[in-house]
């Protein structure tokens, strides 16, 4: 391994790296203070060639591209206009082919096992009978859907689209932080980031040999088509969105456009004799596969929340009758319950007789009095998460919290230990980001997207999310995070 040192003359005046923070946390770009990892050498050189003004211009060009394309998301509870641009960081995150290969194998293994697990707990429940996973844990999960018992779905695939959150630990190993098995979002930002990157750094991109992401729309379409009921040929596939006020609406339109399928809302669909139709200008047209971006709770007011106006009355019965496929299936949330997460390594061993390739983060289950005691005594050092939440909501980060907030969480935990888990505060790896004219280190994670239909398809890359606030560990867009393009190299 060779490393290139930063030329001294640059450091003297205003190296963009003047304020760069390096310490025990793993850095995506630098191996040591003057050594970048091999895959970052060319980027490093390019950054030193560009003046701060040039870098600033490129950042502005990128921001403008996002604004004009309307690549925005909606923030709940923001007072002024609800649309915001998704902050984009100029500098790519680069993964070597070897790093990616491990991630890929680990994800295939994990998704295969989780899918077998879902099939099992909604059928015979062997894993519960063998006491590998406690059955109380499953049956007490808010996301376990009794309505799914003994329902057979195409290929037995429950989790058609997954966006697994990976983080890199101080030793450089990737670990799984969360399995998002319900309606994970962000794939469109991954694709939009790539598009903008190609316009902003065309030569650097071409020289690097980056594996392409172009095929995502087609891969998703093929995956969904393979899920058609009775292997129906040429199925009608639609994307079901909650509508224009949803925070991910941009993504819904983006994916529908890239697949060339209609984007529908609940009010566009009707059911009759357990068949789902959409209202078109030429009358009613039968629908075969629904890529739904609405949570279980809201999808059918007759079966789940009766106050939902987003869903389609009668949809679940049509689904149970096998006339229409929902992707993802109903009830997948039970397997990304944060307490069930703790058992995923055991789940992998149980179904596949393999050791997990991607490790878990150590997790304390608070229903166990011993673990709970430990957690309550160390709240200032741990991260506490609500088991059924996602998007960075309902979370306590001990080291960054106040006594008052910790006290609130202590009460919540004592009142309802099943609803929370705790984990050690993980120092996510840091990557270089272009902030106010300088390159600074910020914490990042990685969310690759896994498609599972007739087979598993993973596109080389993912969404690298960035905690743009200095020192912050929260990367969610709803909490002020941004993102950057992720390059997986050919070799």
């Amino acid at each position: 391994m060779h490393a290139v040192s930063i030329p001294d003359k640059k450091i003297g005046w205003d190296s963009p790296f003047a304020n760069y923070q390096l310490d025990a946390v793993y850095d995506e770009m630098f191996e040591g203070s003057n050594k970048s990892w091999p895959q970052y050498q060319r980027l490093n050189q390019r950054l030193l060639e560009l003046t701060p003004v040039e870098l600033q211009q490129r950042q502005q060009a990128a921001d403008l591209a996002f604004l004009h394309q309307g690549i925005t998301f909606t923030v709940y509870s923001a007072n002024e206009g609800t649309e915001r641009i998704f902050p984009y960081d100029l500098l790519p995150r680069i993964l070597s082919a070897a790093e990616w290969s491990t991630i890929e194998q680990g994800l295939v293994q994990r998704i295969t096992a989780l899918n077998l697990f879902l099939h099992d707990i909604y059928h015979k429940g062997h894993i519960l009978r063998d006491r590998v996973v406690p059955h109380e844990l499953i049956y007490s999960s808010r996301h376990y859907r009794r309505e799914m018992r003994d329902l057979n779905i195409p290929h037995g695939v429950y989790i058609t689209v997954t966006g697994t959150d990976l983080i890199r630990q101080p030793d450089g190993q990737f670990a799984v932080l969360e399995d998002n098995l319900r309606v994970p979002s962000g794939a469109s930002y991954m694709l939009a980031n790539r598009q903008v990157m190609k316009n902003i750094f065309p030569r650097l991109f071409a020289d690097y040999g980056v594996r392409p992401l172009d095929g995502y729309g087609e891969a998703l379409l093929k995956t969904l088509a393979s899920m058609a009921p009775d292997q129906r040929a040429d199925p009608t596939i639609v994307l079901l969105s909650p509508g224009v006020f949803n925070s991910a609406y941009f993504e819904h339109t983006f994916l529908a456009r890239h697949m060339g399928i209609p984007l529908v809302e609940g009010r566009d669909l009707v059911t009759h004799d357990n068949v789902v139709y959409m209202r078109t200008t030429a009358g009613l047209q039968r629908v075969d596969v629904i890529y739904r971006r609405i949570d279980d709770d809201f999808i059918d007011p007759l079966v789940f929340r009766s106050d939902s106006t987003l869903g389609v009355p009668g949809l679940f019965n049509a689904y149970r009758s096998g006339n229409v496929t929902l992707a993802n299936a109903i009830g997948t949330g039970v397997a990304d319950d944060k307490a069930v997460y703790a058992y995923v390594p055991a789940i992998i061993r149980y179904y596949l007789q393999q050791d997990p390739i991607l490790p878990n983060i150590e997790t304390y289950l608070l229903e166990d009095p011993k673990q709970c005691d430990y957690v309550l005594n160390n709240l200032d050092q741990l991260v506490v998460k609500a088991v059924g939440e996602s998007g960075g909501y309902g979370m306590l980060i001990g080291p960054h919290s106040t006594q008052e907030v910790r006290e609130k969480f202590r009460q919540k935990i004592c009142a309802n230990p099943r609803e929370y888990i705790a984990q050690p505060t993980i120092m996510l790896s840091r990557a270089p980001c272009f902030i106010d004219g300088k390159v600074e280190a910020r914490h990042v994670d990685l969310r690759p997207y896994i498609l599972y239909g007739d087979k598993v398809r993973i596109l080389p890359g993912g969404l690298t999310r960035v905690a743009l606030k200095r020192g912050s560990l929260v990367v969610n867009s709803s909490q002020g995070g941004g993102s950057k393009d992720t390059w997986v190299l050919n070799s």
Binding site: H68, G70, F250, L263, V264, H272, T280, T281, A282, G283
Partner: protein, 320 residues
């Protein structure tokens, strides 16, 4: 095509046409009042009446107040800015149906207006601002024609634009002709009529086109005939009616619907009144009545489109 999508495309197009029409009326007004300052009060009243904006002429006592009311004011839900925001909101709901180029153009037009303040427009060149809005709308139409499939969605866009245009032009003609002095002539009245006719033609971008047909001699009868019955001029009502008829014919084919349905019969009837209409007869029977009837028929077509394509009862289609 999804009914909701057709609906959004239709309204997107209508609102954009409305915004363009409003921008043109303001622009023409500001321009022509420079030479006829004494007519300003009356002209302001005419502009407001033709846009159905109820306003107290004591309150709207300056051109600034007029422009502000029609461009930005929040109490008026049909301001130019509101129309463009609504057009964009409709486009946003069908993002995946329109081309990226269309969306970017409409979004940029929206951002341009949103980032502009009335005082700033007034301090610079108001004409340039309103011109930029009209141009933005024209650009959007050009981009639409050259980047979007000329399929169902495009036909709904055509329908929205031309129904809006037919109704707005009919209203404008009606308001302006009521104000024209009768044939008795002193020099001042002739002068005033000439001025009003000129404003009317320019408000429909019709002055140059009219002059090519009738020369620059402005006769009320010729102006009416041109704006009502000309088959080739895109802002005449007849042209709009032909386009409505064409769009509905195309939609009948694309949706394989029964040609005897109400919407097609209504459009055919309206087309026939223009196809066989004679300007002398129309003037004799009263232009006001005729124009009111045109507006009523456009409204009926609008409702029938909704019934045929958008909010039909499900039972009707299940039986078919």
């Amino acid at each position: 095509m999804l009914s909701r999508v057709a609906d959004s495309l239709y309204w997107m197009s209508r609102y954009l046409e409305r915004a363009e029409h409003t921008a043109r009326l303001i622009d023409v007004h500001l321009n022509h009042i420079l030479e006829q300052p004494s007519a300003a009060g009356l002209r302001r009243h005419q502009v407001l009446a033709s846009l159905y904006v109820p306003a107290d002429s004591d309150v709207i006592d300056s051109d600034y107040a007029l422009a502000e009311l029609l461009t930005f004011q929040r109490s008026n839900s049909n301001t130019m800015a509101a129309c463009i925001a609504t057009a964009r909101e409709n486009a946003r709901q069908v993002r995946e149906q329109i081309s990226t180029e269309m969306w970017e153009q409409l979004n940029q037009l929206f951002l341009f207006i949103n980032n502009t303040k009335m005082d700033q427009i007034w301090a610079d060149q108001p004409h340039e601002f309103y011109h930029a809005v009209k141009q933005g709308s024209h650009l959007f139409q050009g981009i639409t024609d050259s980047t979007m499939n000329h399929g169902q969605g495009w036909h709904f866009i055509q329908l929205g634009r031309f129904i809006e245009r037919a109704m707005a032009t009919a209203r404008l003609l009606n308001v302006e002709f009521q104000a024209l002095g009768q044939e008795e002539q002193d020099a001042a009245a002739t002068n005033r009529n000439h001025f009003n006719l000129l404003v009317l033609l320019k408000s429909c971008t019709a002055f140059e086109a009219y002059s090519k047909v009738y020369t620059a001699s402005l006769q009320p009868r010729h102006v009416t005939e041109f704006l009502l019955l000309d088959r080739e001029f895109p802002h005449s009502i007849c042209f709009a009616v032909i386009m409505i008829q064409n769009a509905l014919n195309a939609l009948a084919g694309a949706t394989e619907s029964n040609k005897t349905a109400r919407v097609y019969r209504l459009a055919g009837r309206l087309f026939a009144t223009f196809d066989y209409g004679q300007i002398d007869e129309i003037m004799q029977e009263g232009l006001e009545v005729y124009l009111a009837n045109v507006q009523k028929q456009c409204m009926q077509i609008h409702n029938a489109i909704d019934k045929q394509f958008i909010s039909y009862p499900i039972e009707e289609k299940l039986a078919a």
